[in-house]
């Protein structure tokens, strides 16, 4: 649309010039070759992580502890979330980041033998051969960024696994109605 409007204005300018001095304009057209009009355009880099289909962005794990012991359950395995239509029209980097689940009401330091946080592993697969992995118990997560050297469009599957009590599996979790953590999946052009 922008390009078309520019061409129309250019023609109008030529007509006005012709009206101001028709003789010189006619002489010029006799000696010049065909005018060339460069046509250029830009395709901007574009990435989208896509959308969830019939799903929410919340991994609801329900009750986290064994009611008989107060310890974290050892069989927590939530259903993965699938991002459909993830797309990058250039080389890209996928990054996954996560924060431990923490008790939202019990915010003080727990007494000896207790913990108020849960670590886990967040894995984003499908975009790169090697999935992007973030382990919340680790201070460094070199596998959290993965590069893709070609444009791509497809699914990203986000999986949470390996839930463990922060500080050790022998620690009890303080009672709290809400433990919460956050995960992000990012696609960025370039690598």
């Amino acid at each position: 649309m922008t390009l078309n409007r520019f061409l129309i204005i250019a023609c109008t300018t030529a007509a006005l010039a012709s009206g101001a001095g028709a003789t010189s304009a006619a002489a010029a057209s006799a000696t010049a070759g065909p005018a060339s009009v460069p046509v250029t355009g830009t395709v901007v880099t574009f990435c989208t992580t896509g959308t969830l289909t019939n799903d929410t962005t919340v991994f609801d794990l329900g009750v986290l502890t064994d009611p008989n012991t107060g310890l974290l359950k050892n069989n927590i395995a939530p259903v993965s979330k699938i991002l459909n239509g993830a797309t990058c029209n250039t080389v890209s980097t996928i990054t996954v980041a996560a924060s431990p689940m923490t008790a939202q009401d019990f915010t003080t330091v727990p007494p000896a033998g207790f913990a108020r946080a849960i670590d886990y592993t967040a894995t984003a697969s499908g975009w790169t051969t090697t999935p992007a992995v973030y382990v919340t118990s680790q201070s460094s997560n070199s596998a959290a960024n993965q590069a893709r050297n070609t444009p791509f469009s497809g699914q990203i599957t986000l999986t949470l696994s390996s839930f463990t009590t922060t500080g050790g599996s022998n620690l009890l979790l303080v009672s709290d109605p809400v433990y919460s953590g956050a995960i992000t999946v990012t696609l960025a052009a370039g690598n």
């Binding site: 794990l61 986290l64 107060g70 009672s175």
Partner: protein, 198 residues
């Protein structure tokens, strides 16, 4: 023509800005998620275990029944001293109250409900001590009247570990005169230890 050129330039500039803005927004895309769950209130307490600490004149801990070897002196017929420590493995994942409840307010003779007036005694007081979390408290089931008495102790934090309960009977203590004789019979009390929400 000048105005038209200027308008054209303005349009072109707008288009460039829009293109630039679109590029900044679409080159990076992020999806955010949350993971949530709950840790319900949990309290557990194990079966009692008899400790050798403070054990005096104790026959056995049979299940949850603590048996005193000999409650009275064969010569004075008054109360002999006895003591025991019973431990429980316990957990409470939240601020709670531990309550010691005595069903009889002392060891009462079966069938008795009021102190005797004839110089004989039919109940024996006991002293309890609880150590749990950050508390170490002593209390007395005085045997003045046969009734349920509660000794509640609030605990401000979660706790896990051993709950220690000491019970002791002083020599010569009765619900009548000191060192008074006890009526023949079976003496007992039932003590409940409860961990519950505050």
């Amino acid at each position: 023509m000048g105005m038209r050129t200027l308008a054209t330039a303005a349009v072109s500039l707008s288009a460039l800005v829009a293109a630039s803005g679109a590029q900044a927004q679409s080159a990076v895309s992020t999806s955010s998620f949350t993971v949530v769950g709950s840790a319900p209130k949990v309290c557990t307490i194990s079966e009692p275990t008899l400790s050798s600490v403070n054990e005096v004149n104790i026959d056995s801990l049979d299940g949850s029944t603590l048996k005193i070897s000999q409650l009275t002196s064969t010569t004075t017929l008054s109360t002999l001293p006895a003591s025991a420590r019973v431990s429980f493995n316990a957990v409470c994942t939240f601020a709670h109250t531990v309550t010691i409840q005595s069903q009889n307010n002392g060891l009462w003779r079966d069938g008795s409900s009021q102190p005797m007036q004839n110089g004989f005694a039919d109940a024996v007081p006991w002293t309890g001590r609880i150590q749990w979390a950050n508390i170490d408290r002593t209390f007395v089931a005085g045997a003045q009247n046969r009734q349920i008495v509660n000794f509640p102790f609030p605990i401000a934090t979660p706790n896990a570990g051993q709950l220690l309960f000491d019970i002791s009977i002083q020599a010569g203590s009765t619900n009548s005169v000191a060192n008074g004789p006890l009526l023949a019979g079976s003496y007992q009390d039932t003590i409940y230890i409860t961990l519950e929400p505050q």
